[in-house]
């Protein structure tokens, strides 16, 4: 590889890294802004999540005497796993800095690791609220897993037998998919949108705005976190949102432009996903909690149909 190419690759990796680490809170802020616009109010500033993070990281924390080191492991794991998972997910034309055979499994399982640690962290408080949130998180994200993997399977069917299994190759096959069986790809994208919403506890699965302990999933899990650990949790959640959004985006984003074009489409895509989520949240009610599994199973079935359509193309 000659120097300019190397430089270009390094530039792409850096751009990817910058988007992954710096952009996520903006997405959360954008969702809030969209919802505010829908409601007919100004809403918090776009940069509010950054302000909140900056404040939390600089203020004190209060720890429950019931808790142990496990409680503090949760926030650390939430951030580390989300960031590492993000490292292997390409953003449209911006290749992931790290790519290897089977990296797609790592995305799902790193998120699972983060979930495991945050659930333990919640259970460490010995409170019914956190237990409730943890139980819901465990149940719902577990049911979201098949939809995610069926999406991977659908894409894998586009690749020739043999050869590697990299997320980059898999997602690069998406344009073929749209050409061959657009219906199937649409179903996969829909299923992944459901995964995005449930994994990030958005309406219709969870309502991050109610602030009522008994109905929430994510916020009630972190009810006892404060100060810097809470900041880490919020940042980790934002990064996780970005990572799954990147996965979803890579199904549809055009690629192959220059570095600047790819960066621009990538960022624009992420912002568009945030707007989409904001619109969804603004226009429908939250599901009854025990109806959530039905919707998740439907998402898996959608992805399953996607697999079938792509298999018979």
């Amino acid at each position: 590889m000659d120097a300019p190419l190397l430089l270009e690759a390094a530039g792409r990796a850096l751009a990817h890294l910058a988007v992954l680490t710096l952009l996520p809170p903006l997405l959360i802020g954008l969702i809030a802004k969209v919802k505010a616009a829908f409601a007919g109010r100004n809403g918090p500033p776009l940069l509010q999540p950054y302000f909140d993070l900056a404040k939390l990281l600089r203020k004190q924390a209060v720890f429950s005497r019931t808790t142990t080191w496990v409680f503090r492991l949760g926030p650390v794991a939430a951030v580390v796993t989300a960031l590492l998972a993000g490292l292997v997910v390409p953003l449209g034309g911006l290749a992931a800095p790290v790519s290897f055979d089977g990296d797609l499994l790592l995305v799902a399982y790193l998120l699972a690791l983060g979930r495991f640690c945050t659930i333990l962290s919640a259970l460490d408080t010995g409170s019914a609220f956190e237990g409730m949130g943890a139980s819901r998180e465990a149940a719902f994200s577990c049911l979201a897993e098949p939809a995610l993997f069926l999406g991977f399977i659908a894409l894998a069917l586009l690749l020739p037998p043999g050869g590697g299994l990299r997320l980059a190759e898999l997602l690069a096959a998406a344009p073929d998919g749209w050409r061959l069986a657009a219906g199937g790809m649409a179903l996969v994208a829909a299923a992944w949108l459901v995964v995005l919403l449930v994994e990030n506890c958005r309406i219709p699965f969870d309502d991050p705005n109610t602030h009522l302990e008994l109905t929430m999933i994510h916020e009630v899990m972190v009810l006892d976190h404060s100060g810097p650990p809470l900041g880490l949790i919020l940042y980790g959640a934002a990064v996780k949102f970005a990572v799954i959004a990147m996965l979803l985006l890579s199904l549809v984003l055009p690629r192959g432009g220059g570095l600047v074009a790819d960066l621009a489409t990538g960022v624009a895509g992420l912002l568009a996903v945030a707007v989409l989520v904001g619109v969804v949240e603004s226009s429908m009610a939250r599901l009854r909690l025990l109806r959530v599994p039905t919707l998740l199973v439907s998402a898996a079935l959608l992805a399953g149909f996607g697999v079938v359509l792509l298999a018979v193309h």
Partner: protein
């Protein structure tokens, strides 16, 4: 979804432009009272006698009565102004009422009403753009809660200033307390205060939270929050108008700094 969008178009945008522009207030709103003791007849105690909650003390100003109104106790009912024959005491439409110290909550002729100041240095830098409050309702009538809640609606849109209410005290930067703190809530208020990570602020909203309101002196309650926790901002009223609360909060985080209140319009 389409009906929701159409409904959105119909309902329009409603957030007011405070603090750049003060939204219209009801003309009969009883805001900050003013006293013109030059009009007070000698020996007159009508206002103090009419006040059911002993908010008015009559001092002497060179032989003439000089009423001093403790806004911390005042319920902003019209009893005193109705009782004042020469209209020496009247309520204005001035909504700016929040103060930083309990002692500042006094209206008297010739006295400059010291509005609330911003938090000091580091805390202000921390909370200037992000302030999460844990609202504790403790032994009031749910009236202040109504107006605290109203700030979250789209007309007031508290969120645009980076202020919001949170579920857990661990997530909070301060406590906003309504109600005179009943004996049964004393422990809960203390526990909530201790659960908030520092540095923390406390805001007392309404006459009850400041001095017990209409229930002052009842053995079933503590006559306000100040006896339990250090209060950084007092917002008087029964209940305070949402604009009064918002003005107070913005002063606390340094978003409004002017002390010189514009001349009060006449009461309706």
């Amino acid at each position: 979804m389409i009906t929701a969008l159409l409904a959105r178009l119909r309902q329009g945008h409603h957030t007011n432009r405070f603090p750049a522009q003060v939204p219209p207030l009801p003309d009969r709103l009883r805001g900050r009272p003013v006293v013109d003791s030059t009009l007070c007849p000698p020996g007159c105690r009508a206002c103090a006698d009419a006040c059911a909650v002993d908010a008015i003390a009559i001092g002497a100003d060179g032989g003439r009565p000089a009423p001093r109104i403790d806004l911390g106790k005042c319920l902003f009912c019209p009893d005193c102004s109705e009782a004042c024959p020469p209209k020496a005491l009247r309520f204005t439409n001035e909504f700016r009422l929040a103060t930083s110290a309990r002692g500042d909550l006094e209206v008297a002729d010739g006295r400059v009403y010291a509005l609330g100041r911003a938090l000091a240095g580091r805390i202000r830098r921390l909370y200037g753009r992000s302030l999460k409050l844990r609202v504790v309702s403790a032994g009031g009538c749910n009236g202040c809660e109504v107006d605290v809640n109203v700030l979250g609606t789209l007309a007031w849109d508290l969120g645009r200033f980076g202020i919001s209410y949170v579920a857990s005290p661990r997530h909070a930067d301060g406590m906003l307390i309504c109600g005179g703190v009943s004996r049964n809530m004393e422990l809960a208020v203390r526990k909530t205060w201790e659960a908030i990570p520092g540095p923390k602020v406390c805001i007392a909203v309404g006459a009850c939270a400041i001095a017990g309101g209409p229930f002052a002196g009842h053995p079933e309650q503590c006559d306000g929050a100040a006896g339990l926790v250090p209060v950084d901002l007092f917002i008087p009223g029964c209940p305070p108008h949402p604009l009064t609360i918002l003005d107070g909060l913005l002063r606390l985080i340094g978003r409004i700094e002017d002390q010189a209140a514009p001349p009060a319009p006449p009461a309706g």
